[in-house]
């Protein structure tokens, strides 16, 4: 963390420009803020609303950060924090418009914050070059909104669970910190507003982000048919066997070249066409196509929701409709709807979520399936039933003690139909409650 440099930056920085008439400058935003329209909340335009707005502190994070910072600053938000652990890569320059070639390798949060503060005098942006998981509830409680343009489901689920737990433990409306989430892929994207404990949350909506079906290991190991199968072979089998470098660095062109050549020779052996460097990189890094225009649409939509929430100038997404899907592949199509809260949501619901299982499956099968089931997506699950520990990933001593259970079937372990199990995963600060539903034998 660079708290020292930040303090220096803040002290050296003039809060408002002397050359610009601030009242004239914000003419258009203030027009909307001070003149209620036919759809505004009655509070809009009142002195109270104006004063509240000026005190708002908002947090932005993730790959849409450049757009979000620009939009928040241009919406007259004055106190903004941004979290991003990433450093700038050359492949960001086609869309993350606050970065230049010379910035490659520097921290995104720092460069972006400095740029927007230079351009928009009067805004105060505090960058944090770290992971969102490095902060605790106390840190998050200082904000009125969180806007996320995160690129991983895992990070979204983490911050969602954090904000829901703050809301559950809090006593007043201030502990309800809405989360505005945006994501893009190619010409498509989504923007959604989550009011913790009140509306459907990220975990309720998890099945909308089902993981891609994995290719069976036997296909990769012995009967490849697609270029991707050859690349996966190089990635998961050849690399481990040959260990050409101590650790695989997916951003090192030399490492990708090694994988590419391995994949290519395997493809030639099986007469499979289509292995390229670009495809190798895409498969290994799970690259999702991303363009400036889609990021602009989704970030603009997210910040528009933040502005509506903060000003009451128009009804925001949230209590009624809470989700906007955007698709630009074929004409333009948006679908704005209400995603319903799920009573069995492991984060914000009260009931345990049913999990269909075959009683004859082993505990290992169950553990493996939790990673790929759309309703779970837990990669390192530890499981316990009401009174007994079934399998613990950590610490190593407990792992060793419980490992023998993995080969036993659910029946052997004495588990019953309707049994509640608690699953934990180091990636998330909470327990997931599931109830086992035995499949009927056919």
């Amino acid at each position: 963390m660079s708290d020292v440099t930040m303090a220096e930056a803040t002290s050296a920085y003039t809060p408002e420009s002397t050359r610009v008439d601030e009242t004239k400058r914000w003419t258009y935003v203030d027009n909307i803020r001070t003149n209620p329209g036919p759809f505004s909340d009655p509070i809009a335009g009142t002195q109270e609303a104006i004063e509240q707005f000026d005190k708002i502190k908002v947090l932005g994070a993730g790959g849409l950060g450049c757009e979000i910072l620009k939009n928040l600053a241009m919406s007259k938000f004055r106190d903004i924090h941004v979290i991003d652990m990433d450093t700038i890569d050359v492949s960001n320059l086609n869309r993350q418009f606050l970065f230049r070639k010379d910035d490659v390798g520097k921290f995104k949060a720092e460069v972006a914050a400095a740029f927007v503060m230079r351009r928009v005098k009067g805004v105060d942006i505090t960058p944090h070059n770290c992971r969102i998981q490095d902060f605790d509830a106390e840190f998050y409680k200082q904000f009125q909104f969180v806007i996320c343009g995160l690129d991983s489901i895992e990070a979204r689920r983490w911050i969602n669970a954090m904000l829901v737990s703050i809301a559950e433990e809090g006593e007043d409306a201030d502990s309800l910190i809405p989360m505005i989430d945006g994501g893009t892929e190619g010409f498509k994207g989504q923007a959604r507003v989550i009011v913790p404990t009140i509306t459907s949350c990220i975990e309720c909506q998890l099945d909308m982000h089902a993981p891609r079906a994995a290719v069976p290991l036997c296909t990769i190991a012995s009967i490849p048919r697609q270029p991707e199968h050859c690349i996966e072979w190089a990635h998961v089998i050849a690399w481990d066997q040959e260990k050409p470098f101590p650790q695989l660095d997916k951003d090192d062109p030399e490492h990708i070249t090694w994988l590419y050549q391995k994949a290519l020779s395997r493809a030639q052996e099986f007469k499979i066409e289509g292995v390229t460097y670009s495809l190798t990189q895409g498969v290994v890094k799970n690259i999702i196509p991303a363009i400036a225009s889609t990021n602009a649409i989704i970030s603009g939509a997210c910040c528009n929701e933040a502005f509506k929430l903060a000003t009451s100038a128009a009804p925001p997404l949230g209590i009624e409709d809470n989700y906007m899907m955007y698709s630009g592949n074929d004409s333009i199509y948006t679908y704005t709807f209400k995603h319903e809260k799920k009573p069995d949501c492991p984060v914000c619901g009260q009931l345990s979520r049913p999990l269909q299982v075959n009683p004859r499956m082993t505990l290992q099968d169950l553990v493996d399936s939790l990673a790929v089931r759309p309703e779970a997506q837990l990669k390192k699950p530890s499981i316990r039933a009401e009174s007994k520990t079934l399998y613990m990933q950590f610490p190593p001593s407990l792992e060793e003690q419980t490992r023998a259970n993995l080969d036993k079937t659910l029946l052997d372990l004495g588990l019953e139909d309707g049994q509640n199990v608690v699953v934990t995963d180091p990636a998330y600060p909470l327990e997931f409650n599931f109830s086992l539903q035995f499949k009927k034998e056919v």
Binding site: N31, V90, F187, R225, A292, A296, E305, D330
Partner: protein
Amino acid sequence: MTEVITQTPPILTGAPSDKERKYDRQLRLWAASGQAALESSHILLVNSGTGTVGIETLKNLVLPGIGKFTIADDAIVRDSDLGVNFFLDEDGLGKSRAQHCTELLVELNPEVQGDWFPKNGEPLSLPDVLGNEGPYTAVLYALPVHPRCELLLQEYCNQNKTPLIAVHSTGFYADFKITFPGPFPVVETHPDVTATTDLRLLSPWDELIDFARGMTKDIDSLDNHEHGHLPFVVILLHYLDVWKATHNSAYPSTYAEKVAFRKMVSEAARTDNPEGGEENFDEAVAAVLKTVSPPSLPGDVKEVFAYEHDSPIRSSFWIIADAVKEFYEKHGCLPLPGGLPDMKAQSSVYIQLQNIYKRKARRDAAEVFESVRRASGGDAIDPAEVDLFCKNAAFVKLINPKNNDPERLLEVADEELANDEMAKEGIMPPSLFPIYLALRATAYTPSVETSFPEDILKDMMTLVPQLGDQEPYAHERYEQAAQEVIRGASGELHNVSAVMGGMVAQEMIKIITKQYIPINNTCIFDGIGSRCQVLRL
């Protein structure tokens, strides 16, 4: 004429060039061909009003690397610009807005050129910018403008066959309209991969039949490993033969027959093996309803085949389209695209099957190419273009604009008013037509600051007289739209213009690259309800 083509020498490792690394995330969407089209494009922005939405659009075009942009705008940077336009700063106060925006935009991508007019504070001469500085690949202008200016742009675009885009953003509302200079065909529409499976199971050709029969002639005596690795295509072809033998040589055609056929396939799977079933048979069962159907001609392709030309000048698209139509009329199906989805199979078997599909696709494309060559003007057409068309034949799309139809606005108004009758019941979201009409009514008003909602409503009713006959509910929605436009006071909200700038840039990229499908022709964004509607106006 000799052309010097500079090409990066091939690197043995296949590692990407600097440019490929920078553009990696977008090349995965539109490939080198789309990128080349972008890089040779020149976009004109005629800016007006509070001037943000056009600049946000340019930002999203400069980043992916258009060749050049030109901004025509005679405004001077004022304090209020700095509260809405991110590509301006204090150093620009009192100077040319076009120049200052250009300078801050070209910083985003050193490979893009930017220019601006007027150069020295003289009045903007649009005819000069249009006549001397082009040609332009597309022209974008921001509303409100003077009708005379709009007319000049329309004339230029009409004469030069240039797409023209008008965008209007005020308060929480925005819209844009694309005027195509003529029919706009797209070959590379990038359909969903799952939609592109075309296996021709009901019209197999000899090579495919022989291959499948070769693998299944002793299907019951195959060992479990062989049986469990029959590709699902082969399984389905085999059981279709079995079905025909007991159904008067007819294929399953009704839904009930397909379900019965699916059951037949499902029951043929072996369950006495250690896995208790066979993945390849599961795949076959899952594929029945989707793939056991005769080839059909999608509506969009019908439209291409039926298109009647006004003028004899025809592009390669139309010459190839005619040849594909001839192919279709002769064979009752489109050229085979040639792709084969992944399926459980031994590697070598899958590759053989894949090659059978590829060879047929090549033969079909060669036949189309032959008739292209026979057509007048066809001798200059690149076989690669024919291949690309054949591969995408089922998904080609024609945007067929019917410009300047004065009746169209009233037709749409009737449709949308009827739509709102249903929306009232909560069956569907309310129409955004009121927003469109309120924006349209103010498209030539430099500032609505001194107007009243009644004035705008009156102008809306001049455009659409039916509004006067509406019951209060419908009428109120139009009145609210007018109030909201007044509230915006002809000023933009940065967020709304950022959304709009993204949408317009997406559409312009689709038009420039001729990939993906652009809107036809008007898109309305409601920043209050957070949704869009596309209307053909």
